[in-house]
């Protein structure tokens, strides 16, 4: 049994793996007859990434049953970084060999470079993310070209970073969207009025504080993103859905930062997840 995937543009795969590798060391890949899925929490369980790409979005896709393989992301990232943008990438897996093969080829060329990468043992338990996906949001907006590209968010974060490691986001019917950060030396504010938002649903006032470190990591994807839909809810995770350039969707959930309780926070000792 085996599977093989082909992409004529290496950028998406390279970008996704680079981003994932900035969060975690290893991850499980699920390849099924219909789609290719990577679901991964970062080590601290502060955020979750779920990348999926349908069979149709690949240039070739052969897979007859579901496969789960685990790979070291740093190594995979290193290999993929060796590809040029216009390289065609093929990923092959034979079940009896405990490794994958990655082939890179210049378009219209016959020269092929082949890299192999050993699989890792999977002993991670699968965590259900259903409840996370079921959260209902009453505020969301879309960032898409030409006037409202995801880069705008990247800029807002760079502004905010001068003052703090937290970005505050607020949305309401009157002011639209407000990004702000405060620190000892001062504060910054970036206001986007309601009329200026091309696609939005703002039915409630919602606000949240989020780690800039995590936002920066995920927004590295901006360069290969067509549009981002952002969902905001007070005291809930920030949800971002990235639609990538050649198809492919990345869902990102980022847990909020909340006010400190006077003494000790409530704690759930059942949260003993194994690594």
């Amino acid at each position: 049994m085996s599977f093989s995937l082909k992409l004529e543009d290496s950028r998406i795969l390279r970008g996704i793996i680079e981003t994932l590798a900035s969060f975690i060391e290893e991850s499980e890949f699920k390849v099924s007859p219909k789609e290719f899925v990577i679901t991964a929490f970062d080590d601290s369980m502060v955020s979750l990434l779920k990348f999926s790409m349908k069979k149709e979005d690949f240039d070739a896709y052969n897979c007859s049953k579901e496969f789960k393989i685990s790979l070291n992301l740093d190594d995979l990232d290193k290999i993929l970084k060796r590809s040029a943008t216009d390289d065609t990438i093929e990923v092959e897996f034979q079940e009896r060999e405990q490794k994958i093969k990655i082939k890179m080829k210049k378009r219209d060329s016959k020269r092929v470079r082949t890299f192999s990468l050993s699989l890792l043992d999977t002993d991670k338990q699968e965590v259900s993310i259903d409840n996370l996906q079921k959260i209902e949001y009453f505020v969301n907006w879309v960032m898409s070209p030409p006037d409202f590209t995801p880069d705008l968010l990247v800029e807002a974060i760079k502004d905010a970073e001068i003052y703090s490691d937290i970005l505050n986001v607020k949305a309401d019917e009157k002011n639209g969207l407000v990004f702000n950060s405060t620190g000892q030396i001062g504060e910054m504010e970036y206001n986007i009025e309601l009329d200026d938002l091309p696609e939005k649903k703002i039915e409630e006032t919602e606000m949240g504080a989020y780690s800039i470190t995590f936002l920066k990591k995920i927004l590295k994807l901006a360069s290969i993103t067509e549009k981002v839909e952002i969902f905001l809810k007070t005291d809930y995770p920030l949800k971002m859905i990235f639609t990538l350039l050649n198809g492919g969707i990345l869902n990102y959930f980022l847990a909020p930062r909340v006010e400190k309780d006077e003494f000790e926070e409530e704690e759930d000792m059942e949260e003993f997840d194994e690594f």
Binding site: F41, D42, D43, S44, M45, V46, S47, L48, V127, S128, I129, N131, L132, K134, I135, S164, D165, I166, A209, S211, Y236, P237, F253, A255, P256, R257, V258, E259, K260, F263, E264, E265, D268, M269, E271, F272, D273, E274, F275
Partner: protein, 351 residues
């Protein structure tokens, strides 16, 4: 010290980072940690750090920076201090004391010969923890708002109990004895990954994570069998049998099932029949399997940091550089004022 089973552990140990311990409670073997500071934190010639009055401060320096590191990474430490050692351990303690005396003489000779490298090496082996050091360490930990538990006997046994109860997520110690005490999750090298020089080559010290369950599963033995292996290999409570190391002990236990069967089979090692006093075996097994622990201890609370008290202890009483102490504390202050990062766990469970 502790039992030597490093090679058997290799197959199941995992490298983790501080991020994996985010928001988690870790019971730290305080004596073990402070001893390490006394061994590592030294001047070039091996002399310990001292204040103007000649009091040793290496342990305080280590505790101060290490604790800040834990707190900065949102880890919740619990320091568990040893109580009264078991009688069986007294021999080991006496043995260590003698060895330290020897090293001390060697260190003095090396210093006289101006061989500072060797002097440092011997000096590191002479570390002694006195009452005053322990008291001051406790003070500092307390000022950081971190809970302290005084074990009735072995700190590792108490830590293991905390994990069994679910009051802590893991035990941190360099000693594998924690596994024998039933500590389900053991963390070693519990500090920021760092590079150390070992005989002119450098290697990275990563944080290691060992699950007792996986370890026993992998070797296909029970914890009782592991303790019996410990008796053969040697622990702090018994020197072990000469000629039996970790691999031989494992083979013997697996082949014969129990230490009793081994003794009954008249097995010879290096031409000598294995002979261990049955009463000793029983006592050691009791120490590990039915350890002397404090079942009742105060509720674990992480309090606000008392910055002024920390400054007073370190800067005023022990001549630490105020600039360095203040800078380090400033980082914590900033974090304390800031909002708390929550994890996704709670949202995964909410329906």
């Amino acid at each position: 010290m502790g039992i030597k089973i490093n090679e058997l552990v290799n197959e199941v140990k995992r490298t983790i980072t501080f991020e994996n311990l985010f928001n988690k409670r870790v019971a730290i073997d305080a004596f073990n940690t402070i001893y390490q500071f006394l061994a590592i934190i030294r001047q070039r010639d091996g002399t310990l750090l001292m204040d103007d009055e000649g009091n040793v401060t290496s342990h305080l320096s280590g505790l101060f920076y290490r604790t800040i590191n834990f707190l900065e990474h949102n880890i919740r430490p619990i320091f568990v201090f040893d109580g009264i050692p078991s009688e069986l351990k007294l021999d080991t303690i006496e043995e260590r004391r003698k060895i330290k005396e020897e090293y001390k003489e060697k260190m003095i000779k090396a210093k006289e010969a101006e061989d500072f490298r060797e002097a440092k090496m011997y000096a590191q082996l002479t570390s002694k923890l006195d009452k005053n050091m322990i008291e001051e360490s406790k003070k500092l930990v307390n000022y950081f708002g971190i809970p302290i538990i005084d074990a009735s006997s072995e700190g590792e046994a108490q830590s293991a109990y905390l994990v069994q109860l679910g009051d802590a997520w893991a035990c941190a110690s360099q000693d594998y004895d924690t596994l024998l005490f039933g500590g389900e999750r053991l963390i070693r090298n519990f500090a920021v990954s760092r590079t150390v020089k070992v005989r002119d080559t450098s290697k990275t010290l990563d944080i290691e994570y060992i699950s007792l369950e996986k370890f026993l599963e992998n070797l296909k033995i029970t914890r009782e069998q592991l303790v019996e292996m410990g008796i053969l290999i040697g622990t702090d409570f018994f020197p072990g049998v000469k000629g039996i190391g970790q691999h031989t002990a494992l083979d013997l236990i697996k082949e014969h099932g129990s230490l009793e069967n081994i003794l009954n089979s008249n097995i010879k090692v290096r031409g000598k029949e294995i002979n261990i006093d049955l009463e000793i075996i029983d006592r050691i097994k009791q120490i590990f399997l039915n350890p002397d622990i404090k079942k009742e201890y105060p509720k674990l609370v992480w309090k606000k940091i008392d910055y002024a008290k920390i400054q007073e202890l370190l800067i005023e009483q022990h001549n630490f550089s105020s600039q360095r102490v203040d800078n380090a504390l400033e980082r914590l202050k900033k974090q304390e004022l800031s909002k708390r990062q929550v994890t996704l766990d709670s949202f995964l469970k909410k329906s």
